[in-house]
């Protein structure tokens, strides 16, 4: 089985879909000749031509707006927004147009746009290159929201997103593009080469949207998380010696509730973790959903580990980022509670 990092897996997903379906087009800032600032579209323009891999002006609202029109005219656009932090100029087009077009026209018009965007911290990016805005999008009906945590899922989920007739916002945790990250910045970097999820088939396959995965099986505590923090949670389980089950949500909306609640009913304890700020965050939705179905199984209050409710600071990244230390502390607090 070929080894791929997340960038190669994402590139491969594009390649597979562009080969299979001539209506798939890619547009975004620097995605064409250069192949994207993170190289996710490298080589695609050479292979498929400049009419299918289109360098766009620096106007996120224009990229998304034009992609919507292309989708209405039978294309299947994959739009890259260079950083999730830059997505806001396109927010109105996503929320008011892309998400609602099928609804307001009773299915007569729809636009199957996939919006890919790198998110999250841990790369010394400061407040304009580190944000995790997924919770803003999960709150919008009519779009699907996805965040993979490894190369295998990234390719399979991206192919499923491109094939979906619904619009998908596809978040890519850039800290783990090149290798998994356990949340300890002092350790040397690790590559995907030795990780089982770094084994990625060359050809077509999908990971269905709307399915969570048990990333680590355990009996004592459920950690519900996604993106980079899946790896932090697994490392924290080992560090604390707690027999934790780690659930990788993968698709935030629509949510696979059953995989989450089955686990929490089994363990009786639940910790929710995301990089995004805590207040009004997606973790609150997870907590509310889990407690509704699992209340009588819970042996401790559900707790959250999340980004502090501040903008993402540059110099204090490792005090801000919910890394190994804070994940371990979160686990201990849920385990200690009676």
């Amino acid at each position: 089985m070929p080894k791929m990092n997340m960038i190669e897996a994402i590139r491969s997903a594009h390649d597979v879909m562009m080969e299979r379906d001539s209506s798939v087009v890619v547009l975004g800032e620097d995605v064409g000749y250069f192949g994207g600032v993170f190289r996710c579209t490298d080589g695609l323009q050479r292979k498929y031509g400049e009419h299918r891999v289109i360098d766009a002006p620096i106007a996120e609202g224009g990229i998304i707006g034009a992609a919507i029109g292309m989708g209405v005219n039978g294309l299947r656009p994959v739009a890259e927004i260079q950083f999730a932090d830059y997505i806001y100029p396109g927010f109105d087009q996503i929320v008011s147009e892309l998400a609602r077009l099928r609804y307001r026209s009773c299915g007569e018009f729809f636009s199957p746009v996939t919006i890919r965007t790198p998110c999250g911290g841990g790369i010394r990016g400061g407040q304009t290159h580190s944000q995790s805005p997924e919770g803003i999008f999960t709150h919008v009906s009519g779009i699907k929201t996805v965040m993979p945590s490894n190369p295998y899922d990234a390719k399979g989920l991206l192919i499923a997103a491109i094939e979906s007739d619904d619009p998908v916002v596809f978040f890519e945790p850039k800290r783990i593009y090149n290798g998994p990250f356990d949340g300890d910045p002092d350790k040397p970097g690790v590559s995907w080469a030795n990780h089982p999820k770094g084994e990625v088939p060359e050809g077509y396959y999908t990971v269905p949207l709307g399915t969570a995965e048990v990333a680590l099986e355990g009996e004592e505590l459920t950690i519900v998380t996604y993106g980079t923090l899946v790896h932090v949670a697994i490392a924290a389980a080992a560090e604390t010696g707690v027999d934790a089950e780690v659930i990788d949500v993968r698709t935030m909306a629509p949510l696979d509730v059953k995989t989450l609640t089955d686990s929490v009913m089994k363990t009786g304890r639940c910790l929710i973790a995301h990089e995004a700020t805590r207040f009004g965050g997606y973790g609150a939705e997870l907590a509310a959903t889990i407690q509704k179905d699992c209340f009588y199984h819970l042996e401790a209050p559900i707790r959250r580990v999340a980004g502090w409710d501040t903008p993402y600071p540059h110099a204090f990244e490792w005090q801000y980022f919910p890394g190994l230390k804070r994940m371990c502390a979160g686990i201990q607090r849920v385990m200690e509670a009676e």
Binding site: M70, R104, S105
Partner: protein
């Protein structure tokens, strides 16, 4: 005197109680503006953005190189559509005032734009309209009954009760869904046109927005993308002088015409008499030909006047002179086309009255039928659980469960 910076707050030339004043409006005599060859360089076309393309003169004669030389029969058809549009608007306005629909927007004074452009475009060309383009839907085959049912949110509403009145859509007629948010449809038209060119097809796109909406970022996004990729698209600015209560100067219309907005990007701009059916038709044909032959986008500014209130929620007597439309130098598009047809011996006052009566009757008959499918107070009513459909291609579990819950609640009542 010491020169220093100062803040200008644009003010309209006349407010309630003042004499209407259109001295700011720069006009060109009918027939005066040259018609360029397709493919001319934008830098050689700047005169088109600053002048005013007009065909019909004050004596109702067609003048100059932009005269599209249409058969009188075709003009009679056009007049009929414009009258039907007006009769429909009149009736729907009354119906809203009687409390029988929640909201309405009329195209009064702007009917020539939708009808002339609808007729000049091909049926395969895609329209991305604004909320005063109901004439486009009519011309492209939507029945009055269907439009009324949409406004009533009744059992035959194409939007199944999900949209405010007038937010129509017609896949069959190639007219996009109206959003209600302003200017968002502009980049869609450009993307659609890019896809058309990319697929090697001959279809073009067209979109419309008002003078006020040119201030939105989407307007500039669309112009930029259209210019960069030379998308086959016609971008129309309907300058009806008023954006609710703010005059066109508040959107930046005082320094240069809206038609000139694209010049910096190399997009030709045509400033057209928006109440002159023949001028609009000819300008649209020129822009469509320009796009279809690979020369990219055109921006057309239609200089017109919003003859009625912004919507049924608006009262223009609070912010503009009551008789302002009467003083508008470009008149009424219906009267001008009628005057031209009479002038060329193809129409009469009597025929006109008869045609108006026919249109009113058609609207009355449609209203009678539309009410059979339900009104705001009388059934049949739409099933509210349909609100959960079409959010996604397939209904996800959370919506399924909410749908079941609503059914339970409705059953409990």
């Amino acid at each position: 005197m010491i020169e220093k910076s100062r803040l200008k707050i644009p003010q309209p030339y006349a407010r309630p109680g003042d004499e209407p004043d259109f001295s700011y409006l720069e006009l060109s005599p009918a027939g005066e503006i040259d018609k360029p060859q397709i493919g001319a360089r934008t830098r050689d076309l700047e005169y088109l953005a600053n002048g005013l393309v007009r065909v019909l003169d004050d004596d109702h004669e067609a003048q100059g190189p932009w005269n599209p030389d249409l058969d009188p029969e075709k003009l009679q058809v056009a007049l009929r559509w414009m009258l039907l549009n007006r009769a429909f608007d009149d009736r729907m306005w009354q119906i809203q005032r009687q409390g029988r629909i929640s909201f309405y927007m009329q195209a009064r004074g702007e009917e020539a734009i939708s009808i002339a452009q609808g007729m000049a475009l091909r049926s395969g060309d895609m329209c991305f309209p604004s909320y005063r383009n109901q004439g486009l839907y009519m011309y492209r085959g939507m029945t009055l009954v269907d439009m009324m049912c949409q406004c009533l949110s009744n059992t035959r509403d194409m939007c199944q009760g999900r949209q405010l009145p007038i937010m129509y859509h017609s896949k069959e007629g190639n007219v996009f869904s109206i959003s209600g948010n302003l200017a968002t449809q502009y980049p869609h038209a450009v993307g659609w046109a890019m896809a058309s060119a990319l697929k090697g097809e001959d279809h073009i796109a067209a979109s419309w927005l008002g003078d006020g909406s040119t201030a939105e970022a989407d307007f500039y996004h669309a112009l930029t993308f259209a210019a960069v990729y030379q998308a086959p698209v016609i971008l129309n600015v309907v300058n009806n002088q008023w954006a609710i209560s703010t005059f066109q100067g508040t959107a930046g219309g005082e320094r240069r015409p809206f038609a000139a907005r694209g010049l910096g990007l190399g997009i030709p701009g045509l400033r057209v008499d928006g109440n002159d059916f023949l001028a609009i038709y000819a300008a649209t044909l020129w822009a469509a030909d320009h796009a279809r032959r690979g020369h990219g986008p055109t921006l057309i500014e239609h200089v017109t006047y919003r003859g009625g209130a912004h919507s049924t929620s608006d009262d223009p007597s609070k912010y503009r002179p009551k008789d302002e439309w009467d003083a508008f130098p470009l008149g009424d598009p219906v009267e001008r086309l009628k005057g031209h047809l009479i002038k060329i011996g193809a129409w009469s006052e009597k025929k006109h009255e008869k045609l108006w009566d026919e249109c009113v009757e058609e609207v009355t008959a449609a209203w009678k039928e539309a009410q059979q499918y339900g009104t705001m107070t009388e059934g049949p009513f739409l099933d509210p659980v349909t609100m959960f459909e079409d959010v996604y291609a397939e209904m996800p579990k959370n919506l399924e469960s909410q749908r079941r819950r609503l059914l339970e609640i409705l059953g409990e009542e």
